[in-house]
Amino acid sequence: MASSPLEKRTTMISAGRLPSSRLHEMSSSRPFVHQVDVVFPFDHELQVAFSELETDYYTSRAPLAEIYESLRIYGQQSGLASDAQVASTGTFLPDAWSCREGSIILNAGKETFESLGLPGHKILAQMPGAPEQHLINVSLDTPSVNVRSNDFILDSITRWDRSREGSGEGQWDFAFHISHPEKGTGPLSLSRTRHHKVKPSIRNLQNVHIPTSALPPRPNPRPTSTRRGGHRDLSHGEKTTGTDDNDALEDWNERACELFEWIGMVNIDAQRLHANDRVDPYVAVYSGPGPSTVGDMMHIRWHGFLIPQFVQRILDTATTFLSSQMATRPTVPLIGLTIHGSTGVPVLTPPRVPRLEGEDTVSIILALEGTNDPMTNRSANSGDETDLNGSWVVLESIGKWDSRFG
């Protein structure tokens, strides 16, 4: 059976120093996450800190009209319309929906949108090959003048539910998280939902190759046009060494790719990382980023319906630990985080086509700079303090029909 060719991916890499507001915005840019992986060299204190991070969510099945009414009632009663985080988990795309920050986002296919009668806009009109889909934003609060009344919205959604019943798709499977589950009514009530507890799953990888040096600061490439009209001003003593800077950037990019690949290998517990791996080169050829040392790695995974606040807690735990190491001897030179976004859930911005086989992954490397070999310096130079700075590198990867990067 011939395998389908890999679809085109778009990646963006960015770097900076800690602390950074960019990392605080990372979780909010991906509101629906279904998995977070954290890898780091073994450290008991950090392991305990991550082990304490738990969350929960609920799943249920109901018509969308009932869900809509329940969300409106929940928002009115609790006064926290933006507290609820709900998303459909069905597989009958492109019809999908999500709810966050007090509004429901409906993603409707061509026929569904033509029969709904709710105003929306076509997404990705310029994307070749993308099926026609429309995004509809319905506020749970009192609608504005230009928006249809709640009765009309309810009638439209009820018609949608009826058509799904007729086509065999049935009711909607959805997952949600609310701060006050006792105030949920209808399909959001505790009696009609199934509770799921998200606990970290911890895995210890022994005797694996661990890179000893992280990434240096990212070199800035020499701009090709610094002045208007394309003229370069050399009065400030700039040296015309553009080629060297571009080479340094290229080397830096290569190093970054190796590190991210290594983090991915740790996430899947690849055998190639083991120190005693003796694989036939005909089967696989892989060499980790060097220089490296052999040690133990921890892999912690959270899987489920994860809200942005919980993802941010994981990120803050990692950055806080690294920051605490700057004043003392570092034991963990780097921490790798991988956030897997739910691509089958529609979001308002940036618009994208909900796809089950899509990709929306963020890989983050948090590292300490200022030391070449923190793993050897730990035992040899005991008591000495090093001048350390925290840095971060983020690699974002998205699939096709996603306008996150334009």
Partner: protein, 307 residues
Amino acid sequence: MNSSMTIYQTAILQDDKHTPSTSTSATATHVKYTSAEPFTPKFVKDHLTTKSSRAQALYDERVRRRQLGLARRNQNRGANAMKKVKRGVVKREKMSRREAAEMGMWRLREEEARWDAFVPLHRLWLGYMSELLGLVESDDAQAQAQAQTPPAMKTAMPMAAGMHAKLVKADFHGSIMTVRRSKNAALVGASGIVVQETENTFKVVTRKDKLKVLPKQGSVFAFAVPLYSTESSRADSASASAVAAARSGTNSGTNSRGDDDTREAAAAARTVLDGPHIEFELYGNQFCFRAADRAGRKFKHKETIEL
């Protein structure tokens, strides 16, 4: 009269046949003709060389029943009339579209756009549909249903498949048209009685007494036809109203009169959607024709008719 008699007498004297005798007597023979036996028929028949038995038939065929045109017919009058029309001398009988728009022929004033004012038109359309589709009477259908025989049930339910060809050419003025699907989200759900159908639009009056223009392009409409014939129900309602009117002249109770009026008003306001009906979908993209053009048009089968 004396001159005509003189002529007759002169003709007879000159005719040898009628000369009673060959002698040249000085006395003339007088023959009298009356209106019951005039001169001309007898003269013609007597002078025919054929047999006397056929003389009467020949006279009737060739003389008596022959029509003679008194006025000369102008054979070039049609061509001359067309030339005059082309020159613009003769005014067209048909009003142009611009003239109709300027005069507001098809404009409905706001106070005229009332739902209840067009319900009678809708009732007329129901009767038209009943006749066009050959719907059965509801009493017959119920009787057949009570018979509880499968063939009877099938005959009571009209064959919807055979209605399509007739509905495509039918007139929809008076029908209740609803937008089921549309590329324009604002049109979905719009419904009303069709008061005018143009090539590209349906003009409807909604239940809220609003005149709406529904473009045919990019929309899928839905309309309903009654399941049973409404002809008998209209007759019944008419007779019921007549009986009620007669009673009202003799009945002294005002409450019962009010109840009858209310029932009559409710019956008169019933639409096709208030009773058993069959609903059809109409794809507007394929229906962009005038009603008059659609009557004679042949609709070809298409692979897809999506919006």
